[in-house]
Every structure is written in C-alpha cells, then in structure tokens.
C-alpha cells in the first residue's frame, strides 16, 4: 500500500508539473494547447537523436529542453496568431482546434520518420529503501528533479517581479495593462516556459518508462484531466490535483488493472467537476 502511495506521488508530481504548463497558458491567454503532449514527445525524440549522434546525456537533455521551448515559441508566433484576435469562448475553441491539428501533424511526422525511436534514460543500480519500500533510482531522481522544479516555480511566482507580473495578468488582464504589463509578452514567455516544462516531464518520465512517438496523446489527456480537476488557471490546484490523481491512478492500476485506470481517472475528474464546477481550487467567475 505504501509502495502504491509513493509510486502515486511520483507520478502525481509529474502530472502536476505537466498540468502547470497547460493551466498557465489557459490562465494567461484563454488558450488550451492540445499539442502539449507532442511538445513533450518532440523534445524526448530530440534527446534520443542527440544521444544517437554521440552527444552525452546532459547536453542532449539541454537540447531537448531548448527544443520544447522553441516549440512553444513557434506556436505563439504562428498558429496562435489568429487565435489571439478572438476573445472568450471563441478563442478557447479555435486554440483547441488548431493545436489539435498541430498534434496530428507532429504525431504523423514522428511515426513516419522515427517509428521505433524512444527515449529511455533508464538509471541502473540497486533499488533504495524508503519507508520500508524499495524505490527505483530512476523514480527517485525523477521525483527529485520534479520537486526542485516545483519549488523553483513557487519561488519564481512569489518572489520575482516577472513572476508577479505573470500572476497579475491571470488575476486581472486590464489591471495588468493599466500598470504597464503587456499580456501578449507574458503569454509568449509562458508558452516558451511551458514547452520547457513539457520537455522536462518527458525527460523525467523516461527515467521510469520509455517515452516513444505514440505517447503524445496520452500526455495531453493526462495533463488536461489534471488541469480541469485543479481548476483552469490555478497552479496550486494543478499540483494538488496531480498528486491526488497520481495516487488514484496507481492504486486503481494495482487493484483493478492498468487498462481501467484511465477510465477511473476520468470518472474521478467528472465527479470533481460535478461537485466543484470550477475545479478543486478554482475561483467562481
């Protein structure tokens, strides 16, 4: 049981980080990025290809993170342009359709060019005992990186002026503009940033299980469920929902079977929305 709990927390932290990127883009710009998982996969494949070319693992990972950021920037500069001209619901819908289109193109391209490619940063060595449970080194390292990143995120948003400026746009866009903050600039920054986050999750994920070209959709779906449960636009909610759903997912997979666990996740999400329509920590409009 404790083993499940720890596994769930490891997975949940990654879910939470994944959802953070998605929820920030929504909170800032009213844009839902359904190509999010493909950013993660593209970054993972970039790392794998770089390592094939003989680049050592750390520089290869840096390349992957850069690829994620660049992907986000390209989305902002190209496909999201027409989206920014719309407001409210129309904006959400168009962003959803266009980024879904991008995800199909990326999936198609990757499956055609690199059908057998996968990123596998399996970390060897014996398991380490924690709370009487044996944990794999890969899981521990992935969790450590994720925790450090989450802590960094909190420090950034609480204590830096750029972090506060980004939060102010989520809180009240007109208010932010009236004190000289350009919401478009902040959104571009967050798209780059969320791309890097997606890449980071892909890299840490690959320490536990291989990330291949077919993983994109499931990453997007997980991120989307966690984002909705946490409350769209709410970072703390996303992290909390990530951990809860991570535990639900692992326990369900263990007790019932992993084929059913996605359904259980969806049910958990649906129940949350029925009870709290704005999400766990969402604010009612």
């Amino acid at each position: 049981m404790i083993a499940n709990l720890l596994d769930g927390i490891v997975l949940g932290l990654q879910f939470g980080l994944l959802a953070t990127g998605l929820t920030l883009i929504y909170g800032l710009g009213g844009v839902l990025n359904l190509g999010y998982g493909q950013i993660a996969v593209t970054s993972a494949i970039t790392v794998a290809l770089a390592m094939d070319a003989g680049i050592p693992v750390l520089p290869a990972v840096v390349l992957g993170l850069l690829a994620g950021g660049l992907f986000g920037l390209l989305l902002d500069l190209t496909i999201l342009r027409p989206v920014y001209r719309l407001r409210g619901e129309a904006r959400v819908l168009l962003s959803l359709l266009l980024t879904l289109g991008v995800s199909f193109i990326i999936d198609g391209y990757l499956n055609w060019r690199y059908p057998l490619k996968a990123l596998n940063l399996y970390i060897g060595g014996g398991a380490i005992e924690i709370l009487g449970v044996l944990m794999r080194r890969g899981s521990l390292l992935a969790s450590a990186i994720t925790l450090v990143t989450i802590t960094g995120l909190f420090v950034f948003f609480r204590s830096t002026s750029l972090g506060r400026a980004i939060r102010s746009v989520i809180e009240d866009e007109a208010g932010a503009r009236l004190i000289g903050i350009d919401p478009k600039q902040m959104l571009r920054l967050i798209l780059v940033f969320s791309g890097v986050l997606a890449a980071l999750v892909a890299v840490t994920r690959s320490m536990i299980t291989p990330v291949d070209t077919t993983t994109g959709l499931s990453i997007t779906v997980f991120a989307l469920i966690v984002t909705v449960v946490g409350g769209l636009g709410n970072v703390v909610g996303a992290l909390l929902a990530g951990i809860i759903l991570g535990i639900v997912n692992v326990v369900a997979a263990d007790l019932i079977g992993s084929y059913i666990s996605l359904i259980i996740l969806l049910v958990a999400a649906a129940v949350t929305i029925l009870i709290r329509p704005a999400g766990l920590l969402g604010v009612k409009e």
């Binding site: 939060r167 009240d172 009236l178 004190i179 000289g180 604010v283």
Partner: protein
C-alpha cells in the same frame, strides 16, 4: 501636458462620446463632471488605451498616444485608476505596490510616501486585495498607480462605492499629492467633492462637452448649480 482634440469613441462603432476637446496643463487638477451615462467612463477608457477612439487625437507631453495600447500609455507616465479598480484579488497589498513599479525596482522613497498617505495599506501589507473593503481597495488602486511615479494621474470616479467620509478622505489624499506636483484629471458624479479640489472643469453631457471654465465659474453657473449641485 494632456491635449485632447476631436475625440470620438464608443463600443462597436456606436460612438458614446463625440468630438471631445480639452486639455490639462502641468500641475493642474482638472475635473470632468457629468451625470451617469454622460460618457465619462468611455472617455477615460479611451484616454488610457483600453478602448480605441474612432477619430480624434490625444497628445501626452507632446507624444501622440492616440490608439496606443494601455500598457504603453501606462509606461509613458500617465496612470489610470479605473472606477472598477482592476485589482488582483488573490495578491497581497504589498505585491500590488511592488507591481506598481514594474518593470523597475520599487523606489523605497515612493513606497514610504504611499504608505504615509495611506497608513491603512501599511497595516494590511499581507492582506489579499479581494478581502479588503471598498475604501481600502480604492486606496490600493491609487497607491499602485503612484508607485510608478506618474506625472499624470487619471482617476475615474474615485468616490464610487465609498461612504461620504471615505470619499472626502480620498480627495484629501489627492490634495496632498497635488502639493507634491502631481497633475490630476478626474471624473466625478459627486460634483461638490470634485469642485472643492479642482482648478478647472468641463461638463460632459450625452457625450458632448457642454461647458468649461474654472471651478469658480462652473460653481456660479446656474445650469451647473441646478443640475449638479442641487441648488435651485
């Protein structure tokens, strides 16, 4: 300092204000008065860049700011305090004041001026804006704007939602700021308040400027007296 000419603006092609012209000189306090629905808020939202004008021109310190987005106008040193306040509900008083100076480092001297002016904000540094009373929120909105050391402060109905005593206090704070050399443009429905604290004024009716003059001239005008000062 601010020079507006032939300005028309509104929503979706329907102009609410028409061919408005006025000016604010360095160091002045100028009021624009008018009843509810006269177009004061539309006019001010256009001035500060939240709305685009359909025609006309706005000059701020010789810069043409017509149609510039709000964030650029704010950076030029003209700050707008909306009647809707547009605070950040889940952020603390302190965070608002720090953000007011964005992208620059907050100047400690300006911070202490603001906190001296509104001691209430100093007491509530860690409180979230969303949990504060209307009067405190108004102070915070003005304080946030002041943190950038603006040369022109534009206030839309600062007395909105405030009890008479608090509304008076808001104007007293403005008087202090004026002594420090701040130029102020203000709209007001509660005309007696604005008249007591301004040098000159304009009367906006149905989107047109109908009258202008010094506050003494306006206060002596029979039309103003009966419509806005409750004197018959």
């Amino acid at each position: 300092m601010l020079e507006v000419s032939g300005l028309s603006a509104g929503y979706q092609g329907n102009d609410v204000v028409h061919d408005v012209a006025f000016h604010v000189d360095q160091g002045e306090a100028v009021m624009i008065i008018g009843s509810n629905g006269a177009g004061k808020t539309t006019l001010f939202q256009t001035l500060c860049g939240l709305l685009s004008p359909s025609s006309g021109k706005v000059l701020f310190e010789e810069n043409d700011i017509t149609g510039l987005p709000a964030e650029q106008i704010a950076r030029l040193g003209m700050r707008f305090v909306s009647a809707a306040r547009h605070l950040f509900p889940r952020m603390t008083v302190e965070e608002h004041l720090l953000l007011g100076a964005y992208p620059y480092k907050p100047d400690p001297e300006t911070m202490s001026i603001v906190l001296d002016l509104f001691p209430r904000l100093a007491e509530r540094r860690r409180q979230r804006a969303g949990t504060m009373s209307g009067g405190e929120q108004q102070m915070l909105a003005v304080g946030r704007a002041l943190m950038s050391k603006p040369r022109l402060l534009v206030l839309d109905e600062p007395s909105t939602g405030l009890a008479p005593l608090l509304a008076r206090a808001a104007y007293e704070a403005l008087a202090v700021l004026r002594e420090r050399g701040l130029t102020v443009l203000v709209t007001e429905q509660q005309v007696p308040l604005a008249i007591a604290y301004s040098d000159r004024g304009y009367v906006l009716e149905n989107g047109f400027i109908r009258l202008e003059g010094t506050t003494e001239q306006l206060a002596a005008n029979p039309a103003v007296r009966s419509a806005y000062l409750g004197v018959t």
